[in-house]
C-alpha cells in the first residue's frame, strides 16, 4: 500500500511569458529545476531545496505531464477506485493551461490540450478496450457533472439558470451535490462539448493588479459505472474521477491554505464575522477528543474529503511561475505543496480501552 495511497504532488514550472525576461532586470528567474524531483528556490540568504514526486521543467510537454500525473489515476478509476486531480497555484502560473490547454481554443484536438481532455480520451480508450475484451458481458455507463464553487456557494455550470445548490450525503453514495445536472457521456467528443459549455460560465474577474483571475473553483466529475455479468452474478462497480481547477491561490483567503493573514471585520454591521474561525482554531489544538465545532469545512473540502486522505488516489499539480517577481507566491505554493504531501486522515478510531485485562 506504499504505492498509490499517499497524495502525490507534482510541481510544474511554466515558461515565463514572452518578453518577461527582457523587462525583468535581474535575469528574471527565482528557481531552477535540479532533477526530475527536486527544485531549488533562490531565496536569500540560503537557497531552499524542495523535493516532490515529480518536477516538470519548462520544456515538459503536455503529454508527459498527463502520463506522469493522470494516467495511473484514470486507470485505477477503471478498477473501481475514486480519483482526484487538483491544479493549484497563483493566477498566471499555468493552472488552466495544464488542466485545459491554450485558453483561446475550444478545440481539444489541439496538440497542446491539457490534462482534462487527455483524461477523457484515455478513459474512453480504456472503456472501449474493456468492452472488446469482455464482449457483451460488460457494459459501462459514464455520467458527468460540472460545478463551480464561488464564495462558498455552489453553482451548476451545466445549468446556468440554476440557483445555489447544496451538498448532501447519502449513506451508500457518499457526498453529492443535490440537484446538479448529470449528463450521460458516450465518447470523449461529448465530454469536450460539455466541458466547453460549462467553462464559458465560470466566474472570472479583472483587477488593476491582476489582468484576469478566476475567483471560483471548478470541479468536473465523471462517474464511471461498470456492470459485469458472470453467469448469474451481476457485479456493479462505480467510481468517481474529479478534475479540479482551483481558484488562484492568492484569492483563497477563506480556505485553510492561507498563511497568517488576519481576517478583517466586515465594514457594515456584520462585524467580526470570522471570530468563529479563530475560536475553532483554538479548539482544534485542544487535546481532548470530545468536542464539536460549529463551523463546517469549506464546501470544497467537504465535497472532496474522500480525496483528501480518504481511500482515493489523489494528485496535486502545483503550478509555479519562475519569474523573480513571483517569488513570494511561488514560495507559498511550494510550501503548500510540501504540506499537501503530509495530508492524511487524522481522525483516529475512537479507542479508549486502556489495557483492561481482568
Amino acid at each position: 500500500s506504499v504505492e498509490g495511497d499517499a497524495i502525490k504532488v507534482y510541481v510544474r514550472v511554466r515558461p515565463p511569458s514572452e518578453g518577461t525576461v527582457l523587462t525583468d532586470g535581474d535575469q528574471g528567474l527565482c528557481l531552477s529545476v535540479l532533477s526530475s524531483n527536486t527544485i531549488r528556490l533562490h531565496s536569500k540568504p540560503e537557497p531552499k531545496i524542495f523535493t516532490f514526486d515529480y518536477v516538470a521543467n519548462m520544456e515538459t510537454t503536455q503529454e508527459s505531464v498527463f502520463s506522469s500525473v493522470a494516467k495511473n489515476i484514470v486507470e485505477s478509476c477503471m478498477n473501481g477506485y475514486n480519483g482526484t486531480i487538483f491544479a493549484y497555484g497563483q493566477t498566471g502560473s499555468g493552472k488552466t493551461f495544464t488542466m485545459m490547454g491554450p485558453s483561446d481554443s475550444d478545440n481539444f484536438t489541439h496538440s497542446l490540450r491539457g490534462v482534462i481532455p487527455r483524461s477523457f480520451e484515455y478513459l474512453f480508450f480504456l472503456i472501449e478496450r474493456e468492452k472488446e475484451k469482455a464482449g457483451s458481458g460488460k457494459s459501462f455507463l459514464c455520467k458527468c457533472s460540472f460545478i463551480e464553487i464561488y464564495n462558498e456557494q455552489i453553482f451548476d455550470l451545466l445549468d446556468s439558470a440554476s440557483a445555489g445548490l447544496f451538498l448532501r450525503e447519502h449513506i451508500k453514495k457518499g457526498v453529492f451535490v443535490d440537484g446538479a445536472v448529470e449528463q450521460v457521456l458516450s465518447s470523449a467528443a461529448e465530454a469536450y462539448q460539455v466541458l466547453t459549455m460549462g467553462w464559458r460560465n465560470r466566474r472570472v474577474a479583472s483587477t488593476s493588479m491582476n489582468r484576469e483571475s478566476s475567483r471560483s473553483h471548478a470541479v468536473f466529475t465523471i462517474t464511471v459505472e461498470s456492470l459485469e455479468k458472470n453467469n448469474e452474478i451481476v457485479n456493479i462497480r462505480s467510481s468517481l474521477l474529479n478534475l479540479v481547477d482551483l481558484a488562484g491561490s492568492e484569492r483563497q483567503k477563506d480556505t485553510h491554505t492561507e498563511g497568517l493573514r488576519l481576517k478583517e471585520a466586515g465594514n457594515i454591521n456584520r462585524s467580526l464575522s470570522c471570530l468563529g474561525q479563530v475560536i475553532t482554531a483554538l479548539v482544534d489544538v485542544g487535546n481532548g477528543k470530545q468536542r464539536h465545532v460549529c463551523y463546517r469545512d469549506s464546501k470544497l473540502t467537504f465535497l472532496l474529503r474522500d480525496s483528501l486522505g480518504g481511500n482515493a488516489k489523489t494528485s496535486i499539480i502545483a503550478n509555479v511561475h519562475p519569474g523573480s517577481r513571483c517569488f513570494g507566491e511561488t514560495l507559498s505554493t511550494l510550501n503548500f505543496a510540501q504540506r499537501a504531501k503530509l495530508i492524511k486522515n487524522k481522525a483516529v478510531v475512537n479507542e479508549d480501552t486502556q489495557g483492561n485485562v481482568s
Binding site: 493573514r261 488576519l262 481576517k263 471585520a265 462585524s271
Partner: protein
C-alpha cells in the same frame, strides 16, 4: 476657515460620496469588476486631497494636518482593499505620522487607533505577524491610556468632513469609538492565535464576544455559534463552569434570533433551515459538554481496573462539601456575559445542568438525561438522509453517553442492558454504511461495536462467576457475545488490508494502537470461549496463541510500536510463555497414553 463657505460644503459632499461608494455601492459591483466603486471612491478622495492643499494657505495648521490624516487613512484602506498593499502602507504611515503629536487628543485618538488596526491587518497579509502585533498592541495601549486620562467620547474620523450641524452625538461617538477598539481586540485575538498563544487568544475572543453584547454589535445566531464554539475550547481545558456559561449564553442569545424580524420579512425556507441547523449545532456542543463532564468524573473515580472506586467516591464527596464555591465565584465574575436582563436568563439556563463532577449514579444520570435530550434535538435536524456523517457522530455521542453512565451503574444486569442499547443504535447504521465513502466512520463503528460486545461478555462472565455453577444459557450467551466481538474486531482488521487483501507490514501511526488492541482482545476472547470439547478448546488456545504471538513479533520487528501498547505487550509475552505449557498439559489429558 476663510476659504470655507460653498467650497467646503462641496469638499464634504465629495468625501461623503467617496465613503458611500466604498462602503455601500461597492457591495453591488459586478463579479467581473469587483473594485469598480472602490476605484471611483479613490478618485474622489484624490480630488478632495487636491482641494485641501489648495486651501492650505488660510487654514489652521493642526486642523489641516488632521484632515489630511483622515484622507491618508481613507486612501490607505482603499488601496489595501484593492490588493495594492505597498501603496496602502504608504498612506497609512503618512496618516499616523501626521497624527503622532496629537494622538491622545479627542479629535485624533479614534482615527489613530483605526490606522493602527489597518496597519496590523496589512502586515499580517505579508505574513509578518510580529509586526502586526506591535501595531495592534500599541492601539490597545493607546485606548487604555486615553480612557484613563480623558475618557470623553472622542470624535469619529468622518466628522472632520462634516458641517457643524451634522456632527454626531456623544452617544454615537462613544459607540463608534468602542467599536474600533473592539476591532483591535478581535485582531489581537487572531494575532495571538497565529502566534500560538492560545490562552491569550481565547481570552481576547471571550472579551470580543462580551463587548459585542455590551455594545449591541452582534447577530444573534452568529454570536451564539461563536459562544458555543468557545465553550468547546473551555471543555478542552476542563473548565466546566466557563464552558457551561458560554453554552447557556449561546442558547439564550440564539433564542433572540427567532424574535428579531428579519430585514426581508418573508424569510425563505433556506433561512429557516439554516436556523434549524444552527440550533442543532448548539445542541451538539451541549452534548459534548455533558459527555466531557461525565467522562472527566469517571477518570477521577475509577480504580486501576476501570471500576468505580468507593473510597475515592467518599473522599471526593467530603472534599466537595468543604470546598465552598468561593473560588468559582471569583472566577465567574471575570467571564460573565451580558447585562442584567440577559444575565438573568443565562443564569436560569445554567441551573438546568450541573457544572461540578457527578460523584454517584443519581448525579451522573441527571447529566446523562440532559445530554440525551440534546441528542434528540440534534438528530431532528441531522437526519441520516442528507447528513450521514453528522448523524452518525451524534449517535456515537449517544452511545458514549450510555457507556459512561454504565460506569456509574452498580447492577451488572442493568449495566449490560445499557451496552445493549449502544449496540442497537450502532449496528443498523454500520450495516448500511458504504465503506468506499465512509471508511473512517465505518472503522470507528466496527471498533466500537467490537468493544461493546467485549464489555458485555465481560459483564456476563462476572455475573456468571457469582452463580454456583454456569448454566447453559449463560454459557451460550457468553460464547455468542465473544463471537460477535471477534467478528467486529476482525472486520476492523480486514479494513486495514490493501486492495490485494494483504495485511500491512507496517501499521500507520493512526491505526497502530487500535489494530494492536484488536489483536490483543481477539487473543483474549479465544481464551474466554467456553467449551466442553477439549479438542475445540485446544484449537481456541492455539488461535489465541497466534494472536498473542503477532503482538510480540510485531514489536520485536518495530520497536517504536512498543510505547503504544506497553501493558498489552507485557501480558502477551507472558501468555506466549504460558500457553504452550497449558496446551501441552491439555494434550496430555486428551491422549493420556502417548
Amino acid at each position: 476657515m476663510a476659504a470655507a463657505g460653498g467650497g467646503w460644503a462641496a469638499v464634504c459632499e465629495k468625501f461623503r460620496s467617496a465613503r458611500t461608494l466604498s462602503a455601500v455601492e461597492s457591495r453591488k459591483d459586478p463579479e467581473t469588476e469587483p473594485y469598480r466603486s472602490k476605484y471611483s471612491a479613490r478618485a474622489l478622495l484624490q480630488e478632495v486631497k487636491q482641494l485641501l492643499s489648495a486651501a492650505e494657505e488660510g487654514g489652521e495648521a493642526r486642523v489641516l494636518a488632521v484632515r489630511r490624516a483622515v484622507l491618508e487613512y481613507e486612501l490607505g484602506v482603499n488601496h489595501t482593499d484593492t490588493e495594492e498593499l505597498s501603496a496602502g502602507e504608504e498612506h497609512l504611515q503618512r496618516c499616523t505620522q501626521l497624527l503622532e503629536p496629537h494622538r491622545l487628543s479627542p479629535d485624533c485618538v479614534s482615527l489613530y487607533i483605526q490606522a493602527q488596526n489597518n496597519l496590523g491587518i496589512l502586515w499580517s497579509e505579508r505574513d509578518e505577524i510580529k509586526t502586526a502585533q506591535t501595531y495592534l498592541e500599541s492601539a490597545e495601549a493607546l485606548y487604555n491610556q486615553y480612557m484613563k486620562e480623558d475618557g470623553n467620547p472622542p470624535l469619529d474620523p468622518s466628522e472632520h468632513f462634516m458641517a457643524e450641524e451634522e456632527k454626531l452625538t456623544d452617544q454615537e461617538r462613544s459607540k463608534r469609538f468602542e467599536k474600533a477598539y473592539t476591532h483591535t481586540l478581535y485582531y489581537l485575538a487572531q494575532v495571538y492565535q497565529h502566534l500560538e498563544m492560545i490562552e491569550k487568544a481565547a481570552q481576547y475572543c471571550h472579551t470580543t464576544l462580551k463587548r459585542q453584547l455590551e455594545y449591541c454589535g452582534y447577530y444573534p445566531v452568529e454570536w451564539a455559534l461563536n459562544a458555543a464554539t468557545l465553550s468547546q475550547y473551555y471543555l478542552s481545558k476542563q473548565c466546566f463552569m466557563e464552558s457551561r456559561h458560554c453554552l447557556a449564553a449561546a442558547s439564550v442569545i440564539f433564542s433572540q434570533a427567532g424574535q428579531v424580524p428579519s430585514a426581508e420579512d418573508n424569510e425563505t425556507e433556506q433561512d429557516q433551515q439554516d436556523l434549524r441547523q444552527r440550533k442543532a449545532e448548539i445542541a451538539r456542543c451541549w452534548i459534548k459538554y455533558c459527555l466531557n463532564l461525565l467522562q472527566s468524573a469517571r477518570k477521577l473515580l475509577e480504580d486501576n481496573i476501570g471500576e468505580l472506586d468507593p473510597d475515592r467516591q467518599l473522599e471526593l464527596k467530603a472534599q466537595r462539601k468543604k470546598e465552598e464555591d468561593e473560588k468559582e465565584k471569583g472566577r465567574k465574575k471575570a467571564v460573565l456575559f451580558g447585562t442584567s436582563d440577559i444575565c438573568d436568563s443565562v443564569l436560569a439556563m445554567e441551573e438546568k445542568v450541573s457544572s461540578v463532577y457527578p460523584l454517584d449514579f443519581q448525579e451522573a444520570r441527571e447529566i446523562f438525561l440532559v445530554g440525551q435530550n440534546y441528542v434528540q434535538e440534534a438528530k431532528e435536524f441531522f437526519q441520516v438522509d442528507g447528513y450521514v456523517t453528522d448523524h452518525i457522530e451524534i449517535v456515537q455521542d449517544h452511545s458514549a453517553l450510555f457507556k459512561v453512565l454504565a460506569f456509574f451503574e452498580e447492577d451488572y444486569e442493568r449495566r449490560c442492558k445499557m451496552h445493549k442499547r449502544r449496540v442497537d443504535m450502532l449496528e443498523p447504521l454500520y450495516a448500511d454504511l458504504n465503506p468506499q465513502y465512509y471508511l473512517l466512520i465505518s472503522r470507528q463503528l466496527q471498533f466500537e461495536l467490537a468493544d461493546t460486545y467485549y464489555e458485555m461478555m465481560d459483564l456476563k462472565v462476572a455475573i456468571g462467576n457469582r452463580l454456583e455453577e454456569l448454566d447453559s444459557h449463560t454459557i451460550k450467551k457468553i460464547n455468542s457475545l465473544a463471537q460477535l466481538a471477534i467478528k467486529y474486531y476482525e472486520l476492523f482488521l480486514d479494513s486495514l488490508r490493501n486492495p490485494d487483501k494483504v495485511f500491512p507490514e507496517v501499521l500507520e501511526e493512526d491505526v497502530l494502537r487500535p489494530a494492536m488492541v484488536a489483536k490483543f482482545h481477539i487473543a483474549r476472547l479465544y481464551g474466554k470461549l467456553i467449551t466442553s470439547d477439549s479438542k475445540k478448546q485446544l484449537e481456541n488456545m492455539q488461535t489465541s496463541l497466534e494472536y498473542y504471538t503477532f503482538l510480540v513479533d510485531y514489536c520485536e520487528k518495530h520497536p517504536d510500536a512498543v510505547h503504544a501498547i506497553e501493558t498489552e505487550l507485557e501480558l502477551s509475552k507472558e501468555m506466549v510463555g504460558l500457553l504452550p505449557t497449558r496446551m501441552e498439559r491439555l494434550r496430555a489429558k486428551l491422549c493420556p497414553f502417548i
